[in-house]
């Protein structure tokens, strides 16, 4: 009970309530996406947190039950929209597994170039946003130019920048043009020094280290129990990477390292993502070399020969009866797929992106479940921030790389 002789007179009842409830989101500049955290604060310390998600839920899994396979690709764009090509190609490879389609090596290598570019674009955004939330805006603006360049490469390949809908079942709709390769060469030449300079700004920066070391740590056991995958799991010290454990798209032909951290805090997550960008650059270089080794007719191969699923070229549609029939059947969704169930996963920007596809022999999936890494590891947020400061909670949020689109599905 407040006594009458105290100097500051508090309003009646205010002394009993010791914690404050703070809403972080759903539309808060620090959440970088639409989701809500209700934080219970004791002064500036977080006592507990509760997450509310689902603000951008678009029922992708339900929609997929009424779409032929090729119409589902644009839905996957909307998962992790910072690296849509990985989602698209993950979906194509899932379909190819179900349909037992063997794609040519050149297609695999071109896909790897796109996926690793997407990984760089994803990690680049995440790491520079961690910088922004720690108060360092410069790195973000500096790196942004190179995400732009990546988007220009995608634009040359598929015509779109963000929601790419890149590639088709069996390969690509057209061969890469020369401008795409020129821009790729430009990127490979110009990006490494920029990334190096970005690291110089951050990695041994006293302020940045103070803000991130020991913030939001998680042990390897807890991370595994929470279903962490991708950079966040590797920062905790577990070297699990889908590209190595279950290679797809001929990743086994490449030589690269899996960086791991030790403490699983924001600093380790930052460093793991930095190193992964260097590894991705090296993979792209190797893949580009392999692509250039194809000569003559081989250098023109950009899709597998699967007329049931791969749209014929317009030239053929207008002049050849068979191509016209396939075109009609594909567009009208008249092709039954084999019955069966398949789980296939790829290493997305945030971790294991899995597609579990059940087919009953109809023309659309009977059930499609998408393992969305964000959705699974965001559960751990409460455990990561309990007892820390509000400003730390915001850095943890951005260093987990939460993408609302992927979380809500």
């Amino acid at each position: 009970m407040p006594t009458t002789d105290q100097h500051i007179r508090l309003p009646e009842g205010s002394i009993e309530r010791t914690t404050t409830r703070l809403n972080l989101g759903p539309t808060h500049p620090a959440t970088h996406g639409v989701f809500q955290n209700i934080l219970e604060m004791d002064g500036e310390k977080i006592v507990s947190a509760e997450q509310t998600i689902g603000y951008v839920h678009r029922a992708i899994e339900k929609l997929a039950e009424r779409r032929p396979l090729y119409q589902i690709t644009p839905l996957t764009d909307r998962l992790n929209y910072c690296s849509s090509p990985i989602n698209n190609i993950g979906w194509h490879t899932t379909c190819e597994k179900l349909l037992r389609i063997k794609v040519p090596k050149r297609v695999d290598y071109l896909r790897i170039i796109l996926m690793e570019l997407a990984r760089i674009a994803d990690h680049l955004i995440c790491n520079s946003i961690v910088g922004v939330d720690a108060g360092a805006y410069t790195g973000f603006l500096y790196l942004m130019q190179y995400r732009e360049l990546i988007y220009e490469i995608w634009e040359q390949v598929c015509g779109a920048r963000l929601t790419t809908n890149i590639g088709r079942i069996g390969g690509f709709e057209r061969n890469f043009n020369n401008i795409a390769f020129e821009k790729l060469e430009k990127f490979l030449k110009e990006y490494p020094p920029v990334l190096k300079e970005f690291e110089n700004l951050f990695v041994r920066n006293r302020i940045f280290m103070d803000r991130t070391i020991g913030v939001g740590p998680i042990s390897a056991e807890r991370a595994l129990n929470y279903g962490f995958t991708g950079p966040n799991l590797r920062a905790a010290g577990v070297d699990y990477d889908v590209r190595v454990h279950t290679p797809y798209c001929s990743y086994e032909d490449f030589d690269f390292k899996i960086p791991v951290g030790t403490t699983g805090d924001c600093y380790d997550r930052f460093l793991v993502r930095e190193e992964e960008q260097w590894q991705s650059l090296s993979i792209i270089e190797q893949a580009y070399e392999k692509v250039q080794e194809f000569k003559g007719a081989e250098a023109e191969v950009y899709h597998a020969d699967v007329p049931e699923y791969y749209l014929p070229s317009k030239e053929d549609v207008y002049t050849k009866m068979e191509a016209l029939i396939w075109h009609f059947k594909i567009i009208m969704g008249e092709i039954d797929m084999p019955a069966g169930e398949v789980y296939h996963s790829v290493e997305g920007g945030n971790g294991e992106l899995g597609y579990y596809l059940i087919s009953d022999g109809g023309r659309a999936p009977y059930r499609l479940q998408i393992r969305r890494p964000c959705f699974i590891y965001y559960q751990a947020y409460e455990e990561l921030v309990r007892g820390s400061l509000l400003s730390d909670a915001i850095i943890v949020l951005s260093s987990l790389n939460l993408i609302a689109g992927e979380m809500d599905g």
Binding site: I53, G54, H57, A59, E61, K62, L63, E65, R66, P68, K97, L98, R222, L224, N225, Y226, G227, V238, Y240, H245, T246, M332, G333, D336, G340, E341, V342, Y343, S345, E352, G354, Y356, I358, D360, G361, G362, R363, A364, Y366, R367, Q369, R371, F375, I376, Y378, Q379, A380, D408, G409
Partner: protein
């Protein structure tokens, strides 16, 4: 190195005829057990020093309206990271009484995945610490991923089940016109189109 055949033998040794329907679609060992057994099986797979399926990759529901008494399936994808092998484990439940034990005690990851399965299929996970809707609004009074709720509005005939090779309601060729059904009218019209 762990092989599918060996995992299967270990499961049969332990649970005898209670584990059944072993298949290997695309190389992944798949089996099912009665729904009361789900925690026993998951615990055995987790604790066994050889099997070590300690990573829950995903958990989801599937609705099979035609299977009476076992309409809802819950599918667990488990991963042994040491030996790098995955298995798929299914349980089935009656839709009228969809009570299933929660796996949250074993995997923290199961928390939201089970909430999602409850949200979309109405599976009631017994013992779950916070079983409420996660992606849909709290006021929703149905479970939208069940097959009886069509996704498109009913006037769109291009998205009818018939267009996807599964029966359906549109019934092309059976609509009544002034001349009877289209099929009958075409027959009377010596095969020429009537519309």
């Amino acid at each position: 190195m762990l092989a599918n055949e060996h995992i299967k033998q270990r499961l049969i040794e332990k649970f005898a005829e209670q584990v059944s329907n072993f298949t290997e679609p695309f190389g992944m060992l798949t089996f099912e057990a009665p729904k009361e057994m789900n925690l026993k099986v998951l615990n055995f797979l987790y604790d066994d020093s050889e099997l070590k399926f300690q990573f829950l990759t995903s958990l989801c529901g599937v609705h099979y309206p035609d299977q009476k008494g076992r309409e809802l399936a819950i599918v667990y994808h488990l991963h042994n990271l040491d030996d790098n092998i995955r298995i798929r484990f299914k349980i089935f439940t009656d839709i009228a009484k969809p009570d299933v034990y929660t796996a949250t005690g074993l995997f923290s990851a199961a928390n939201w995945l089970e909430r999602e399965t409850y949200d979309f299929y109405g599976v009631n996970f017994l013992g779950h610490p916070n079983l409420k809707r996660i992606l849909n609004v709290d006021e929703m009074d149905y479970f939208p991923m069940r097959k009886e709720y069509p996704v498109e509005e009913s006037t769109r005939i291009d998205k009818d089940d018939e267009m996807f090779g599964r029966g359906g309601t549109f019934g092309y060729g059976t609509e009544k016109t002034d001349h009877g059904t289209i099929a009958e009218a075409e027959k009377n019209n010596e095969g020429r189109p009537v519309l």
